[in-house]
């Protein structure tokens, strides 16, 4: 494993999951993990398993719901989807993130 590939930064996992669910719609755990992995492959290293505790946290907060379903390969699986509350939360998280990112960016510009 290359050292430059960091672990997913703490707190961003929620955002990644919510955002992915918004884009692709209801999805099973493996699909979500693969998707996030693909998008972030070049930047961070992701243990696929680590999305499960995060998914549980989002469920407990009521942002994500689960439903039994069948995968594209005809396999039985648990599907995760965004709740309306989760959608609103995503909005907030995105705004927060952008604000934080902008702040960091400005800070970096000024000091460099």
């Amino acid at each position: 494993m290359e050292k430059s590939k960091a672990e997913v930064p703490y707190g961003t996992m929620d955002l990644l999951i919510l955002r992915t669910l918004e884009t692709v719609g209801p999805m099973h755990g493996f699909g979500l993990a693969r998707r996030i992995e693909q998008v972030s492959e070049s930047i961070v290293h992701l243990n696929q398993g680590s999305i499960y505790p995060a998914l549980l946290r989002l469920q407990q907060k009521g942002w994500v719901a689960t439903k039994e379903g069948t995968s594209e390969n005809g396999r039985h699986a648990k599907f995760y989807s965004l709740t309306p509350k989760g959608r609103r939360q995503l909005q907030i998280e995105v705004e927060n993130w952008e604000r934080a990112a902008a702040l960091v960016a400005r800070f970096l510009e000024e000091t460099s």
Binding site: H28, G29, F30, G31, A33, R34, E37, N47, Q48, G49, S50, Y52, P53, L56, R57, Q59, Q60, K61, G62, S71, N73, R75, H76, A77, K78
Partner: protein
Amino acid sequence: MNLRMWMAKITALFKNQMLEDELEKDIQEHLEMATEEYIRRGMSPRQAAEAARRSFGGVDKIKEEYRDQRGIPLWDSLSRETRFAVRSLRRTAAFTLLAVLTLALAIGANVTIFGAINRLLLHPSGVSEPDRVVVIRSGYDKLNIRNLVVSFSDFNQVSDSSDVFSAAAIAKTASFTYIGDQYPQRLAALRVSWRWFDVFGARPALGRLFTAQEDRPGKDHEVIISYAAWQRVFGGDASIVGKSIELDQQLYSVIGIMGPEFTFGINELGRVSGQTHDIFVPLAAHPDSPPLLYTETYLCVARLQNGVLLPTAKSFMSVLTNRGLHDPLAGKPRQENGWGLSMLPYTEFTGGDLRMPLLILWGAVAVVLLIACANIAGLMLARASARSRELAVRSALGASRWHLFRLILTESSILAFAGSILGLGVAYAFIRAIEVASPSSLVGALRIPFDLPAIVFTGAAGILSCVLFGTVAAAHASAGNRFEAIKAGGRSGTASVEKARLRSILVGAELALAVVLSIGAGLLLRSLSRLHAVDVGFRPEGVMTASVTLPESRYKEPGPQRAFYRGVISRLGSLPGVQAAAAGYPLPFSSGFEERPFRIDGHPTTSGPALTAQVRLITPDFTAALGIPVIRGRPFTDQDADRSEKVMLIDEVAARRFWRSEDPLGQRVVLRSGLQATIVGVVGHTKQSDLASDSDAPVFYYSLFQAPLPLGSLVVKSSGSPLPASAIREAVNSVDPAQSIYDVATMEERVSGALGTKEFTVILLAVFAAIAVFLAALGLYGVVNYGVTQRTQEIGIRMALGAQQSQVLNLILRSGLQFTLAGLFFGWLIAFGVARRIPDQLFGVKPFDPLAFVSMSFLMSAVALLASYVPARRAMRLDPLEACRHE
């Protein structure tokens, strides 16, 4: 975390297994999907499965994270630790059993004594908010008379002060003869003013309480029956309410039955006595003439008004005192003699006699609990040493100190919990045993409740003991260098040495405390035997006594009274085996004595306080029946009754005090009541109520035939065993079938009854001391035995080098002796301090009684020697070869 998340987590606690399966399924599905994809990409199934696992990350780590997110980590680890601790305690069953039993014994003893204290000193039965109930007493400072009953005018002052007292009442003990289906019975009664029950916040179980109208002379023929008497006398018949019963040949209508919890046996003296009141009748006291108004006659109780604190109410007593002193009708005696009113809490009033013994017992059981905790802490330390290797491995594998600390603490909590539960059972057994064994004078009073406060106290004792032994053991188990322990193979190492030192201190402390308790018990046992040896001044053997009270309606005049006594005595005297029959009032070792002022004819009247003596009325054979020696002159004879000249006897104390240089015989004494009599004899002094403290008050004897009384006690001396009560009852009923006898007891019972409470508490203390000695010996055995195990190899080498068995024995015994000597030394120090504080409880024994100190120390040493001999013998019998190989 928000509420929703907590809800999710708490529900998760209850669906643990289901959720665990679901997680397993989800992960399985994920891995299968991933494997399929890798296969699609061209990997072999085995490679694909491997790759899927790798990209998933550590399955167990993810699961753990998931579980933490799902549940409440602390709870999960707690329940895990509990399961683990239970497993490990089960592995060392002998240790666990010993610890739990020790604790149960100690907690049981504590709960029992707490129950007694709670019932007798804190929350007497049947009284609501007992801390608001007070007793008003009067006293004469200058006469050194305190704790006296109050007068009717004082009661009026109290009951008029409604801003301080919400209710006040007075009472006076009495008794009535009830003629039921069988023979007449004497019912113990309390005449009460109408708000009596309001003061105690008591309500009747059936019917109603008295009204103000019923508390008037002439309208007072109502009666309220206590629950116990209702059951005993009336068979629990509910229809009795509203009916009339005959008391002293007058009709009283039953208006109420008190509940079973309203049982109290208080009297004017405030002693807790076994005898409870059977019935309550209105006092109906409305004296209006000054002498009656100002005579101290009544027991006065009051309930504090809401918001009034005890100190406030106490200071209000000085206001009332001031009013009483300036009452123009009260006359001068109050001011001259420093009259005043005082107040004390009801529980202090009733618990007076038992307070100190109970507190001593509480101290004793607290010490027993301390010893038990020290013992268990010692056992846990020994256990920790034995498993130091296990603990070291655990910590090497990543268990933090906090983790190990928690592990030991969890084990302690489980022990404490089990000990408390079992302790409740032990307490129950103790309480039953006390009920069976308690002396008759305490039967009513010592009904220790097994209730919520007892259970709460058990819990508190359990938690306290857990803290006491748990933290000591846990702190030590988690400290120390564990890598040393691995290297040392669990046998020695610094941590072990430290633990051994701590154990030694614990055992030394246990022995010291046991020494203190046994010396204390020894002192009190010695006092008790001294009390038993006290000469009461008469011969109680073979003497039966019973009391009669003749109703005013038929025995108002002296004639019928005299005839009654003569008839009964002559009948009793003619019974076979009876040596002497007599009547008298009051008997020794019963109440009824009164101080009477008098003057001696021909002596100059002095200006100081009047001479007083106690007065006893007797028939001629009284001195013979009780074996009271006649020192000078003669006893009463039958002829005295018919003569007009009144005669009297005095006791030796009176002779010494009032006729120092003169011959008392032939002198005339005039009582303030007007009775004049000539002294014809001097008799021996008798103890009156207490073996320990004799009032040494002089006693005058008058002839019951010359000054008859409507009440008295029959005294019958038999050559063999005391006459049965039925014979006395028959004799009484053959003279008057309507009369009953009551307060039936042999003279020996009366005398030992005075000792009953003391005897009982001393025996209890001795039992607790024995438990303490046993537990301390157990602790000593544990330490010495552990020492033998630790030194097995050393002993083997010594023996191989030629040490004799006796030398090995000495070696081990010496280590036990060190603890014992240390325990004795510190025990003596503490015992000196304690003994000095309980002189009231000692009789005829100095606080530093050498016999008690030495004998108890010998006893303790013998037990300690035995406790170390058992492991020493084991060491002596060791096979040197085996021992050298010992790991």
